[in-house]
Symmetry: C2
Subunit: 71 residues, 2 copies
């Protein structure tokens, strides 16, 4: 199962919920804005290492990044 | 936040729930038993690509792999 879109959708949702721009989140999570932008488009499979950094920066539980969309 | 142990604990839990051996799961998820064994020990940060293969092989929801331990 390809998890890139699920991850991308949740990442955008969590960033918007925090009211953070891509620039702010990229800085906090120590990645380039370009990489973050591509993650939010579902281009890459992140590692759990990067997922952990994003969870810290967004103060979100890691499990939030793989939650299925609400219907 | 380091997610390796959380992932490892959930992976072992899900594999045991399916009654699968490491050999069986490694075969189904197309990885070596040695790599799987190390994942279950929390040695590596998996990518979402590998997490997706494990979810398929275990017929488990991806979100299960990052669930916090029940207290």
């Amino acid at each position: 199962m390809d998890l890139r879109q699920l991850f991308a959708t949740n990442l955008r949702r969590l960033r918007h919920a925090k009211g953070m721009s891509q620039d702010e989140l990229a800085f906090e999570a120590e990645m380039s804005r370009s990489y973050l932008s591509q993650l939010e488009k579902g281009k890459f499979h992140v590692s759990l290492k990067v997922l952990g950094r994003l969870a810290d920066a967004l103060e979100a539980a890691p499990v939030e990044f793989l939650k299925p969309p609400e219907v």
